[in-house]
Symmetry: C2
Subunit: 232 residues, 2 copies
DNA sequence: TCGACTTTGTGCATCACTTCACAAAGGCAC
DNA sequence: GTGCCTTTGTGAAGTGATGCACAAAGTCGA
């Protein structure tokens, strides 16, 4: 995406791999804070987050020098620094498009609100669903998509529609100025540069598990007849 | 996990990054097959799957030499080969533990069954929930976990319980011989070697989006007062 | 005040994955 | 057949992430 000149060594740039782990550290730190732990070593925090301690230290070093040698990291302070880096000190208005099985589960989920994400809109195309009250919100018709995004200052959209509708919804959302999308529909969304799409595909996760499971059982795919069939 | 001697160049081993993309190719191929496309070039398939064509070719080369130079890949044949490699030619019994908002959405989701994954058990600890009929199944009490796994030949377990219950469920599941787990609870599960855990954490995905979103708006986290506070 | 001890932050070697670029393979037209 | 044209499969170079290992920094007890 964002290309930078090889000159400046990535001004305040944090590697993607690191960014993806920061929320993990944050979760572990919150766990420690609840147990009233004041400081933590990279070793202990690494164990709690399920990573290597050298990796943890290198990740944190990208944010700045927030540790104290001989002691470790101040839990509260580190929570604050990571939250700030991730942009969790402000809160983000999220809209969910597609209020079916999955959309409802997401809307009812408390884990988002607790992290500065506020569900500010629920939209669906089905007149049966429009008007339903879910998690204190009323489902609106997806015709209102643009106005809901504008009026409520939505900056992140979650797409939980069927795959066939996802690209169209995506296009409209981007036209409304949104540049951050979380997609649950099993399709590759085409978006212009500058728009971030992250996808969650449960089916893919299961398929990866199946791959490894098969290896454990067989030592490989369908043994015996492998390579047998020419393509005719 | 599985360490191999540097001698043998990874006997039939497929890089993890490749395995993670195979389901993507499979989905793209199924789309082509529905539109009755007989053959496809690496270039076209790469576009459909949203990847670089060189990467696609290298990925497929790990499975074998299934293309025809000057022509491309036979769609049906490639679908078969990838399915076989992923272990989707057999079907897998899946149990879902924790039938709350998310567990229900998963149970009702048709996208699993279509890929050789059969939901063979729904388990919950709440007596209110036990006995409910969902997607043609009756929710059973989680006390029955071990016997359900054994009787129905469950090889993949989905954990959709609250975070606090996840590790305990995980331990019991592993004790029953399951070695493939898909975890939705926001905790790091501790498992013995040989057990595969994949996790899906929606909250993490949103946090990563927020990070990038913040960069777009500000060019960085909370400008102005940054680095201001010493840790006291 | 000092010295022993702990733990960070990072240079460096290594590993894994990506991308380029092209020779070899094969189809197809004539 | 023969030769052109397309597309694969893959060496090799490039990029980024990982993990080791250790010097530097800081704490704390005596
Ligand atoms: N439920 C799951 O566990 C699960 C798992 C993996 C992937 N998914 C994917 O998530 C998506 C949603 O799944 P689901 O089970 O909730 O499906 P669902 O059919 O229950 O819900 C989809 C909802 O989207 C609405 N919709 C359709 N077109 C729309 C449009 N243009 N604008 C706004 N809303 C629209 C429908 O009215 C419906 O309410 C699907 O793409 C599915 O493949 C779901
Ligand atoms: N709903 C979402 O969109 C969402 C999003 C991200 C993460 N999650 C995570 O997924 C998990 C489930 O979320 P949810 O919204 O469905 O929660 P939920 O509270 O609606 O459902 C949890 C279910 O698990 C059952 N349960 C509790 N302890 C159990 C045990 N020991 N054995 C079996 N069942 C048990 C409860 O009875 C309940 O039915 C949570 O860990 C949550 O953090 C959910």
């Amino acid at each position: 995406m964002i290309r930078r000149t090889p000159q400046q060594p990535r001004e305040r740039g944090i590697p993607d791999a690191t960014v993806a782990r920061l929320p993990l550290y944050l979760r572990a730190l919150n766990g420690l804070a609840e147990r009233a732990v004041a400081t933590v070593s990279s070793e202990d925090l690494a164990v709690a987050a399920g990573v290597n301690s050298a990796k943890l230290r290198k990740d944190l070093s990208h944010l700045g020098s927030y540790g104290t040698r001989g002691v470790g990291y101040d839990v509260q302070y580190l929570i604050y620094q990571i939250s700030r880096e991730l942009g969790l000190t402000q809160d983000w208005a999220v809209a969910i498009v597609g209020v079916g099985n999955l959309g409802r589960a997401l809307a009812n989920y408390g884990g988002f609100v607790s992290r500065g994400f506020r569900v500010a809109g629920l939209l669906d195309a089905d007149p049966e669903v429009v008007g339903d009250h879910i998690a204190g919100l009323v489902v609106e018709h997806s015709d209102e998509l643009e106005s809901v995004i504008a009026k409520r200052g939505v900056s992140i959209v979650v797409i939980a529609t069927p795959a066939t509708a996802a690209q169209a919804v995506c296009d409209r959302v981007i036209a409304s100025g949104v540049t951050s999308i979380l997609n649950f529909a099993p399709v590759v969304l085409t978006v212009p540069a500058g728009v971030d799409v992250r996808k969650v595909d449960l089916s893919i996760e299961l398929q990866i598990l199946a791959f490894h499971e098969q290896r454990k059982v067989n030592g490989g795919p369908v043994m015996g007849e492998e390579w047998a069939g020419e393509v005719s």
